[in-house]
Subunit: 354 residues, 2 copies
């Protein structure tokens, strides 16, 4: 697989150097390789690692239809106009049945090396990339950190991850950012749903979008109440529980009002992170999440190998014949993979093993 990639007219090293020099097409090709995963993606991550670390990483999530894409677009124009170089990684949801609806409002870039630019005057200062997850959230958990690191290494700042908080993986992605923005809208019971989804614990900034609509103040009130409650119960763990309270910013991305307030709140949170000595803690959490995801992927491949091995086929056949239980087959395969030491809670065999 590596060879096919490298047999293109430019090597990964050459692509990386060109991208660092401002070649947007080279960056687009690197992002495509990152999205495809495998060895090339890891190589790119290794190249980018020393050059990365400066960018403010912002996660934006919310339910479908909350207007995240519109808000993100407004923020990008606002930031580029202010001399910043924002990059956006727009993550398509991994949930298949909801995928269709959300893909509709975005150009899917999964198989092209071109980038999706906004207004011409800011296009050269920004890079907006949509990343498809093709249903397997594992790929998302692996590719997003590499893509963010690549943007970071290219000098883009902030790097905005936009995703739909329909799944735990998406929530985790946003939770691993420096600043997590949760977008709500009136009339969807979003505040209650966000509470269910655990977004209250994740959010550093709440945005009530479509604030011109009736019910916007109700959403704000509901959020305030739940934040009071979560502070009383000490649920807010993302900031170490040292008293930072997520602000609630009203805006109307469609009308183009409020995005400056949103960004001001995002910047204020980063300053607060530094003041509270929490920024390193966030980075540490982000790295733990990524390392865990990479280990999970590697072990998932090991499981597939074990299942397809002769031993695996034989054990599954024994279960099919009723001679063995699925739990027993799993335990035996794990022994073959890891050696015979399982956690007690997962080892179905009551008698100790020699």
């Amino acid at each position: 697989m590596a060879t096919t990639k490298l047999s293109r007219n430019a090597s990964i090293d050459e692509l990386y150097t060109a991208a660092r020099g401002g070649n947007r097409r080279a960056l687009g090709r690197l992002l495509t390789l990152v999205e495809r995963g495998g060895r090339d993606a890891e190589t790119i991550g290794e190249l980018a690692n020393p050059d990365a670390g400066a960018a403010h990483i912002v996660g934006i999530t919310g339910a479908p239809g909350a207007g995240k894409s519109t808000l993100t677009g407004r923020l990008v124009v606002h930031l580029a106009g202010a001399g910043r170089r924002p990059a956006v990684l727009a993550v398509d949801p991994s949930s298949p049945l909801t995928g269709g609806a959300i893909l509709g409002d975005r150009i899917r870039m999964s198989d092209t090396t071109e980038d999706l630019t906004v207004a011409p005057e800011v296009g050269d200062r920004t890079f907006i990339r949509s990343m498809a997850t093709r249903g397997h959230s594992g790929g998302l958990a692996l590719a997003v950190p590499l893509a963010v690191r690549l943007f970071d290494a290219m000098g883009y700042d902030p790097v905005i991850i936009e995703t739909v908080g329909v799944g735990q993986v998406e929530v985790d992605v946003v939770a691993a950012a420096d600043t997590a923005v949760v977008v709500m809208t009136p009339g969807m019971g979003d505040a209650v749903q966000a509470n269910k989804a655990g977004l209250l614990e994740v959010a550093d900034v709440f945005v009530v979008n479509k604030a011109d609509r009736p019910g916007a103040n109700d959403v704000r009130r509901d959020l305030d109440l739940m934040l009071d409650l979560s502070h009383l119960t000490g649920q807010d763990t993302t900031d170490g529980g040292d008293g930072y309270r997520p602000p609630i910013v009203m805006c109307s991305a469609l009308e183009g009002t409020g995005e400056a307030d949103v960004w001001a709140a995002v910047e204020a949170h980063l300053i607060s992170l530094d003041e509270r000595g929490q920024r390193l803690r966030r980075r540490h959490h982000r790295i733990r999440t990524e390392v865990r995801a990479r280990m999970s992927q590697a072990l998932a491949n090991r499981i597939d190998e074990a299942m397809d091995s002769d031993v695996g086929r034989e054990l599954v056949a024994h279960v099919t014949d009723g001679a063995l239980s699925p739990t027993g087959a799993s335990a035996k395969l794990l022994d073959a993979l890891l050696g015979p030491q399982l956690e007690p809670g997962l080892d179905p065999r009551s008698e100790p093993r020699s």
Copy 2:
């Protein structure tokens, strides 16, 4: 944890024997232990394994609001009236943001040992249990096969798994059944979404519910077209591509019309499975799915152990300091866990290791 369970007035063995003897409360308590997972759940699975294997396992899925619960209820009454002993395992979706809406139309049974009965005259022949996944789909993948096996061992037949096909895990659960029923409704573009979700490849029987509504025949036509296409392109892999074409049954669960036709199609599919020698193939696929899920869970626990070990903390600290990349840290931790042999595609180190 095992001790807390066993310190109840009845041991798992006693509960199992009582449940086999028809004690519904004992079965409810066993199902609660299965849902909680861990060693007790595995023990129950080991007990049930020799007694199970006879039941017709039916998966019913579809988008939220498709009327699955109503249809399932109709089927249960129909089956119990015909002298069968149907059991239903209703799986709450794992996707947090959609969870609230769907939980609304069902009594959540996660923390009670009582069972949800339907009409009194059939209640003693049926067992309907709702299983909450509490957000972690891993728990679902582990608990559902055990609960199904337990119902099977208790002599319930068919065992119906009802779930919302919003996530890959839910789709996998249904795909692992003997007969997979996909419920559609008019006016939701369900046929197209089902295609996106890969349900066309999974479905053995299509049900167009709310068939009295306008557009029901459009859904049927769309499905027919896509089935023609999938047969032309040989996409239908669930039955080994030997020409079984999923029927499309119109019904109105709310009106109570068509459930008999739905069940007739489900039975016809099982007969077709036997005729084509495919039933064992389904069972084999179901077992592979379960064994893989159990291995994944065990290895996920191993990853957490490794991350929380001194080595894990040290490596993450090195990455935070920039001395090491996340990929490198993951590789080193995997070496510690599995010994130094990673797949080439996931080993970031270019130089060979001694």
